[in-house]
């Protein structure tokens, strides 16, 4: 698994690439929980390149969510893969996590707008 981390106006955008499961969770946790900076608890987890998730992967997302909430940080999840969304729904995480269909929407929700265009929104106007 590869994990890309980008910072945008204080928010860390973390994008795991590949499978988020019992094998890769230790690396993912290590990367996310060791982020540095004053706003290390303001996170966007971009899961659009996650190809598979199991209960261990879900557990890591919950752990991060709880940690962020405990320090009053902000968190958003980006999910566009129907399979990942289906797994979220099976265990009701879609009702708890703030889930967005693309990064633009997630950034818009947390108030970061610079440089990101919600193509879906603008497609209605063309």
């Amino acid at each position: 698994m590869e994990i890309e981390v980008e910072e945008k106006e204080g928010y860390h955008i973390v994008s795991p690439v590949g499978e988020l499961d019992i094998y890769t969770v230790p690396l993912f946790r290590k990367v996310v929980l060791k982020l540095e900076g004053d706003r290390r608890h303001d996170l966007i987890l971009d899961l659009t390149r996650v190809t598979f998730i199991d209960s261990s992967g879900l557990g890591s997302l919950i752990e991060i969510f709880q940690k962020v909430q405990s320090v009053e940080g902000e968190i958003a999840y980006v999910v566009d893969n129907p399979r990942i969304l289906k797994i979220f729904k099976l265990v009701d995480l879609d009702k708890v996590f703030p889930v967005f269909p693309n990064l633009g929407r997630a950034l818009q929700d947390v108030g970061v707008t610079g440089g990101y265009v919600d193509e879906e929104f603008f497609s209605d106007l063309t």
Partner: protein, 143 residues
């Protein structure tokens, strides 16, 4: 060492039998074998659900059962419209009633394996005794 065999009965039913050492490395092997078996026998649309459900059942064995023979036994059968998976071990059993119908809060720290299995498969039965556990699950071919 992983041992596996695959055969087709005279009635056209396909069978896969796999014995896996009780450890994390076995999960990816089981998943890839199940995805291939399901896809090869007409259940491509259901393959990922079946493989994830099986992975969760196997993970429960690794985390909780600790079988004395260090073995996880997996059997998969596919006929025209149903694919079934049976996963068994001779490790420590558990109180099925306590876990199978107990709702798991969305933010619980653990316990999502069985809800996932139930959500992914059409029918799930679990028999667990002191001598071991058998998880049997079925999924129908999508119309």
């Amino acid at each position: 060492m992983t041992k596996s065999s695959s055969q087709t009965s005279p009635d056209g039913t396909h069978h896969l039998v796999v014995d896996l050492p009780c450890g994390k490395k076995s999960l990816i092997r089981a998943r890839s074998k199940l995805v291939k078996f399901a896809t090869d026998h007409g259940f491509a649309d259901e393959a990922e659900d079946i493989a994830l459900a099986a992975q969760e059942a196997l993970k429960n064995i690794i985390q909780h059962a600790c079988p004395a023979d260090n073995n996880m036994h997996l059997e998969c059968t596919a006929d025209h419209d149903t694919i079934s998976v049976e996963i068994s071990d001779i490790g420590t059993g558990f109180d099925v009633g306590e876990v199978i119908d107990t709702p798991v809060p969305a933010l619980a720290n653990h316990g999502r394996g069985i809800p996932l299995i139930k959500g992914l498969m059409d029918t799930v039965t679990i028999v667990s005794e002191q001598e071991g556990t058998v998880v049997r699950m079925e999924k129908k071919r999508r119309a």
